[in-house]
């Protein structure tokens, strides 16, 4: 498996990252060497092996359906990069 600059450019858009042409070249080389290395994962026989998502098995955790305190509006807006009164300000979503 080898990644072309086009592949990396596509992944960058999926990952919402803007890459300069220089970055695209550098990352393509680096990601290729990493992908080549992780190919070792194909070596062991994993037939019938159940995937392990957590080192310690997790289970569903339920709590009583009781309303607890939530973040006050002002606290939530305190870290807003841009705000308009009580709202987050972003570029128009609908054209």
């Amino acid at each position: 498996m080898s990644l072309s600059t086009d592949d990396v450019a596509k992944v960058a858009v999926l990952a919402r990252l803007r890459l300069s042409p220089d970055e695209l070249q550098t990352f393509t080389g680096q990601l290729n060497s990493i992908v080549e290395y992780v190919a070792h994962l194909q070596e062991p026989d994993t037939t019938g092996v159940e995937p392990l998502a957590h080192g310690v098995e997790v289970r569903n955790v339920f709590r009583d359906d009781v309303r607890g305190p939530s973040l006050p509006r002002e606290a939530a807006l305190l870290n807003a990069p841009k705000r308009n009164l009580d709202s987050f300000l972003v570029p128009a979503v609908l054209d």
Partner: protein
């Protein structure tokens, strides 16, 4: 203050021999004189002194005080503290002030600890050298031309340089144990789920775990006890009683069967590190331990499995940083490179913000994770990595049927030079080759100082135990600590 442990300071504070205010003034002075190490990214003397005065007043009034009352604890900048800068070593969170405390911070406050600044780290805890920080690298107190390890390099250097008696870090692939080893101190990664991750800024949620740095095991046990316990705000937190690690530390372990994994002594291991670890085995034998060779045949797949699982989780966790409701937002997101004119302005805003906010290592891992999870590749990479993860866990389960702990080197080499591996991500990733498997398996691990190289660089001994066996892990490590004086060595720092 120099060479002080939290336990020794507590004894003096409780006896009324010193006041917390005077103590933290000394630490603040030392932090000022050793600023060049770049250990702290935020340290507000007034806030620190206010906390100390409040504890002193409580003590004077005869009110009950907590288990760490008046003792400074340095905090890795990955942990949320209400209304204080919490930046994760990133430009992305440069102006972020969390509206809540991480659970471990609440526990420290309840214990009367003094939150002594935020320490430098690899951006979003991604790295093995603390060179990926937006604030520049931290220097190793033993040799200022070398890295302090990563990603919790600031927290490790804080203790090693006596800028705080103890500190907190986080360990996703070795980020507590590896910097502890190369800074010559104790570092402990607890079992996954032992310590709440609520308020720990997530990197790879199934691997991240918070843990203590200390000069010795008594302090590590003390801090571990304070921060452990079930938390209903973290769905992966485990509801299990927390032993009194401090009370049992000096009791001999129930049995002392130590496994030596042959895979931990492979190619790439520095000869001086190997010699120190072999000497540690002899010390354990002399103390009556039964040494057995064990095998962890799938550990060679630890690094490749990690570099699929961790980036996959990070690409998902870091998707929240889009410049919309918090974090950095670019000023200009007009089309810059070919093809961008076709993208929606909101998408361009996110792309521009993320590209300005994140450093290269974070971008690399997000892209690697996005690729590994993308249609057509998820089975080949992500699902296969999770199956290999199961094989790695099975290896440990088998080994722990025969032995109580597994011993080996923490890091394959002593601290390397700053800049030595920055251009080669893969070489950097291999720095955590001996620590990564414990995170994949969820088991606890600790690193204790076990030697110095000829050029006076610390070497760490790693001990691993089954899940939730921290108590026995600490007691087994204490056997070694009692027989040696490596944990008392300090760097010859010119202040």
């Amino acid at each position: 203050m120099n060479n002080a442990t939290a336990a020794s300071l507590l004894a003096k504070l409780n006896a009324g021999e010193i006041r917390s205010e005077d103590l933290v003034r000394q630490y603040l002075d030392r932090a000022e004189s050793l600023k060049r190490l770049n250990v702290f990214v935020h340290l507000d003397p007034e806030r620190v002194l206010d906390q100390a005065r409040a504890i002193d007043a409580k003590r004077r009034a005869g009110e009950p005080v907590g288990a760490l009352a008046g003792v400074p604890v340095a905090i890795k900048d990955v942990l949320c503290v209400t209304n204080e800068p919490t930046t994760c070593g990133s430009r992305m969170l440069k102006s972020f002030r969390p509206p809540y405390d991480a659970t471990v911070i609440t526990k420290l406050k309840d214990a009367g600890a003094i939150l002594f600044g935020k320490t430098n780290m690899d951006e979003f805890a991604m790295g093995s050298s603390t060179e990926n920080s937006a604030y520049g690298p931290t220097l190793n107190p033993w040799d200022e031309e070398r890295i302090p390890g990563g990603s919790s390099g600031g927290s490790a250097a804080a203790v090693a340089a006596d800028l705080a008696p103890v500190s907190l870090g986080s360990d996703t692939g070795g980020s507590i144990r590896q910097p502890a080893a190369v800074c010559g101190i104790v570092g402990l990664k607890p079992t996954y789920g032992r310590v709440s991750r609520y308020g720990l800024i997530a990197f790879a949620s199934s691997l991240d775990q918070i843990g203590p740095f200390a000069h010795d095991l008594a302090d590590a046990a003390l801090l571990l006890k304070v921060i452990s316990g079930h938390d209903d705000r973290d769905a992966t937190s485990v509801d299990q009683a927390v032993p009194d690690y401090t009370a049992t530390l000096d009791k001999p372990p129930g049995s002392l069967r130590i496994g030596v994994a042959r895979e931990f002594f492979g190619e790439g291991l520095d000869p001086e590190v190997e010699a120190a670890v072999r000497e540690a085995i002899r010390i354990y034998e002399k103390a009556g331990a039964i040494i057995e060779e064990v095998s962890l045949p799938n550990s060679k797949y630890g690094v490749p499995a990690y570099y699929i699982v961790a980036p996959a989780e990070c690409s998902s966790n870091l998707a929240r940083y889009d410049g919309t409701i918090f974090g950095h937002r670019a000023e200009d997101w007009s089309p810059k490179y070919p093809g961008e004119e076709n993208l929606h302005p909101l998408v361009r805003m996110m792309m521009a913000s993320r590209s300005e906010g994140f450093g290269p290592e974070v971008k690399r891992r997000i892209m690697l994770g996005t690729f590994a999870l993308s249609a057509g590749y998820a089975d080949q990479y992500y699902n296969q990595a999770l199956k290999v993860r199961r094989l790695i866990r099975n290896d440990f389960d088998e080994a722990f049927k025969k032995v109580d702990v597994i011993l080996g080197p923490t890091s394959p080499s002593p601290a390397f030079k700053l800049g030595e591996r920055t251009a080669d991500p893969l070489a950097m990733y291999l720095s955590d080759i001996y620590t990564i498997t414990a995170n994949l398996a969820g088991i606890p691990g600790l690193s204790v100082p076990c030697g110095l190289t000829k050029s006076n660089l610390p070497i760490g001994l790693q001990l691993l135990a089954p899940a939730f066996a921290e108590e026995n892990l600490l007691r087994t490590a204490r056997v070694f600590e009692r027989e040696t004086d490596w944990h008392t060595r300090r760097p010859g720092l010119a202040g």
